[in-house]
């Protein structure tokens, strides 16, 4: 399977008469873009706000991030099964606007899995999204049924952001990209002997699927991962829009669509392929709640790894707490089969750092890359500008915020300064692989 990604390096985004890309500057015709988003009648109110790295801006509640992408020379969509009908992802040419992302931001209302981004200052280091030009779709919807629920599907805003991301990337359909990246990985069984002689590796992804009801979980070609058994997936599919992020999950643990599209672990394995390892592909698993579902997924995922002949595996979980059972269970199953495994996760050690880092552990899990600690308390000064609504952090059940606390006070203070847990830094633990954090003993 061969995928070409045509990269357009965006340094600045501004509004103007015509939506276009020229010399590093991407211009958006705001009225047109808003009109396109509003074709979905569930969007009752929407605005587009641009913010650049270094701006004294705080964005909250952020529900999703997407790199603008569009397929080239075809009717196929960038997110099959989501922004349009099904087509095979991971093939052909896709254009990408690099260095920027479209953010789905609630105009008022936050939910459990939403996060916060500071574009400058101390808070900026907590998420890599502070380093991107962010095109914020700030919207309200008619989804009254969930307006005051902590758990929200956020469908209209998330779909609006996916559609906007594709709409923007369509503008470079006929342009020459600054760079073309090629991702070419053929059939597992027909490889050169030199490649087959190398240790074979699979990447097992455990995206979020804990909600029994449809609409909250990660989607694979639009299919909810809750009702799913692990399957073999081509890495190009993951990077080319076959997988979109969930609404559910405490935010620092979350895999946004942007991080599926730009998965650093897949990219590094591609780089090592044929040099040090034989990269077999991705096993897409899930993270369900009941024990039988956990055991089924562990069994099927580890068996798939064994069937394709993996000598080693990297496994990453989108979550902590309950999901640690799936994560550790799968590591144990793989190690029992003799497949050397490295796990990628974050930790939950409590405010004093003394709690057991994962709810379950096993001696077989002897190779872990730790990407952050959800429990860290973060205190940040006010920002000049807020995109979204700051009050949502304390008011709406965002996992790392609170309305009041006898010791720490409210998350959102009258002067605009905040105190929260790292738990809700937008995708801040970057378990897909871009985390520069680790966890140490003190």
């Amino acid at each position: 399977m061969k995928l070409e990604i045509g990269n357009f390096f965006v340094k600045k985004v501004k509004f103007g008469d015509v939506t276009k890309f020229s010399k590093g500057i991407f211009t958006i015709n705001k009225e047109e873009a808003i009109a396109y988003v509003k074709e979905d009648q569930h969007i009752t109110d929407c605005d587009i706000v641009i913010t650049h790295p270094g701006d004294e801006t705080r964005i909250v509640p952020v529900k999703e991030a997407i790199e603008p992408r569009a397929k080239v020379g075809t009717e196929e969509v960038a997110f099959p099964g989501v922004t349009g009908s099904l087509s095979q992802a991971g093939l052909g040419r896709t254009n990408a606007l690099k260095g920027c992302s479209v953010l789905a931001v609630g105009k008022h209302w936050g939910s459990f899995g939403d996060g916060l981004i500071d574009m400058s200052g101390e808070g900026a280091k907590y998420t890599m999204f502070s380093q991107l030009v962010n095109i914020c779709l700030v919207a309200d919807t008619d989804e009254e049924f969930e307006r005051h629920n902590a758990q929200k599907k956020n469908k209209a805003i998330r779909w609006g952001a996916h559609r906007l991301a594709e709409f923007l990337a369509k503008a470079v359909e006929n342009e020459e990209p600054d760079e073309v990246e090629v991702f070419d990985l053929g059939s597992i069984t027909k490889r050169d002997p030199e490649v087959e002689a190398l240790p074979s590796v699979v990447y097992i992804m455990q995206p979020q699927s804990q909600m029994e009801e449809k609409g909250y979980n990660v989607l694979y070609y639009g299919w909810d991962l809750n009702q799913f058994v692990p399957t073999l997936v081509h890495p190009n599919e993951v990077m080319d829009g076959a997988v979109i992020g969930a609404s559910y999950m405490c935010c620092s643990s979350k895999f946004s669509t942007y991080e599926f599209q730009n998965n650093p672990t897949i990219k590094r394995l591609y780089k090592e392929h044929g040099q040090t390892v034989n990269f077999l592909g991705v096993i897409m698993s899930n993270l369900n709640v009941s024990l039988e579902q956990k055991e089924r997924s562990i069994m099927v995922a580890s068996k798939l790894a064994q069937m394709v002949g993996a000598d080693g595996a990297i496994i990453g979980e989108e979550g902590y707490g309950n999901t640690d059972a799936d994560f550790i269970g799968c590591i144990v199953a793989l190690e029992d089969m003799g497949i050397k495994t490295v796990g990628m996760t974050n930790e939950c050690t409590g405010s004093d750092g003394k709690s057991q880092p994962l709810v379950t552990l096993a001696e077989e899990a002897n190779a872990i890359v730790s990407c952050g600690n959800v429990s860290q308390v973060v205190e940040l000064p006010p920002m000049k500008k807020v995109i979204g609504e700051l009050e949502s952090l304390g008011r709406d059940g965002i996992s790392g915020g609170w309305e009041s606390d006898e010791k720490l006070g409210p998350s959102v203070r009258p002067d605009g300064s905040i105190i929260m847990l790292n738990d809700s830094m937008f995708c801040g633990d970057h378990v897909c692989g871009s985390s520069k954090k680790t966890v140490k003993e003190f």
Binding site: A313, M344, A365, A367, G397, S399
Partner: protein, 348 residues
């Protein structure tokens, strides 16, 4: 100048060896024995007092020893507390750990000690105080006190974020996130680790598996029809006004709510504040999480002896293991006092 206190045993005070190990605690002004070595490495504090205690006295009369030393310390001002170094002397190591743990908890000042890695005091107290890996014998006095002094200066300078690996003390099971100085991303760390693991080369896990704290399964109730049963749930069911302000995730608070005489939990009177699951069904019928309706029926039918007058609630999503253990410790006295024989624990 800040003030420091040092704890040593009878041997290092020059009082005597084994025959003097019953020496009762005493306090002296100024430096004694190892204090001289520590002084040269501690720049920001003066060692104003030395406490001396026989190792057997501390080991056999621990409560009394602590009470006496407590009395000494209440009368003086000090900013930091040192003990040892204890090298490979087992009883001395345990004594240093015991007193450091007590001083840290009672006076809220940081405590530092040092002992050889095989000293039993390491495993017993490494979570309660800073313990440096020390030499086997007093030949290491200068080296060991140097590490203690350097850390003491850092603590007195107000440094709070002290990393075990960098400073050199034993890990204490206190874990916090840091930004790697080399900026190497997790993906690269994972692939590099896997390549090493597959090649049989050495690698360092970023999460060493700590000793697992397993709770044994309780013995079964012999006669359920005589047993008093209580419900403890992490499903977040509370009275609608959430009187204990339990957080919807990462909870640190819990509540107990009276259900005496109630046949079931009524919607509108109780609701869930749990942030981690779809609340619709639980709000419409709180009994699906805290099944008072069914338990009450069991009580009437004589299947269980009695339903406890209160149920206990917190929220389990994102709640740290340490917080959960503390909340359990706080609930247990109420359950014991009421003579509860068994609890039904309901997660969501």
């Amino acid at each position: 100048m800040k003030k420091a206190v040092l704890y040593i045993n009878q041997f290092f005070a020059g009082i005597g060896g084994e025959e003097k190990a019953d020496h009762a605690p005493e306090i002296r002004e100024g430096l004694v024995g190892p204090g001289l070595a520590l002084k040269t490495n501690l720049k920001s504090a003066e060692i104003t007092h030395t406490i001396i205690c026989g190792d057997n006295f501390m080991g056999s009369n621990t409560e009394e020893a602590i009470a006496i030393i407590n009395g000494f310390l209440e009368g003086i001002d000090f900013d930091i507390f040192f003990a040892g170094p204890a090298f490979q002397a087992g009883r001395y190591g345990v004594a240093c750990g015991t007193i450091c743990k007590h001083v840290e908890n009672t006076f809220g000042v940081k405590t530092i000690t040092s002992m050889h890695e095989e000293n039993p005091g390491v495993e017993m107290f490494k979570k309660d105080t800073y313990i440096f890996p020390g030499g086997k014998s007093a030949a290491a006095m200068r080296k060991d006190t140097k590490k203690m002094g350097i850390l003491g200066d850092k603590i007195l300078a107000g440094e709070t974020f002290l990393e075990a690996e960098k400073e050199g003390f034993f890990v204490r099971g206190i874990r916090h996130q840091v930004w790697r100085e080399d900026g190497v991303e997790a993906a690269d760390r994972a692939v590099d680790m896997l390549i090493k693991k597959m090649a049989g080369e050495e690698f360092v896990s970023e999460l060493p598996i700590p000793k697992l704290d397993r709770v044994p399964v309780a013995p079964p109730i012999k006669d359920l029809s005589k047993a008093k049963i209580a419900v403890v749930s992490s499903g977040g069911i509370v009275p609608v006004d959430n009187p204990d302000k339990i957080q919807s995730s990462s909870a640190t608070r819990w509540g107990r709510y009276c259900i005496a005489g109630e046949a079931s939990l009524k919607s509108g009177v109780y609701k869930t504040i749990h942030g981690g699951y779809d609340n619709t069904v639980a709000n419409a019928n709180p009994n699906v999480v805290v099944p008072i309706d069914v338990l009450r029926k069991y009580e009437e039918e004589g299947k269980i002896g009695k339903l406890h007058d209160y149920f206990y609630a917190t929220v389990g999503t994102g709640t740290a293991e340490g917080e959960a253990a503390r909340m359990a410790e706080e609930m247990i006295p109420y359950l014991k006092e009421a003579g509860v024989d068994a609890i039904v624990q309901i997660a969501t």
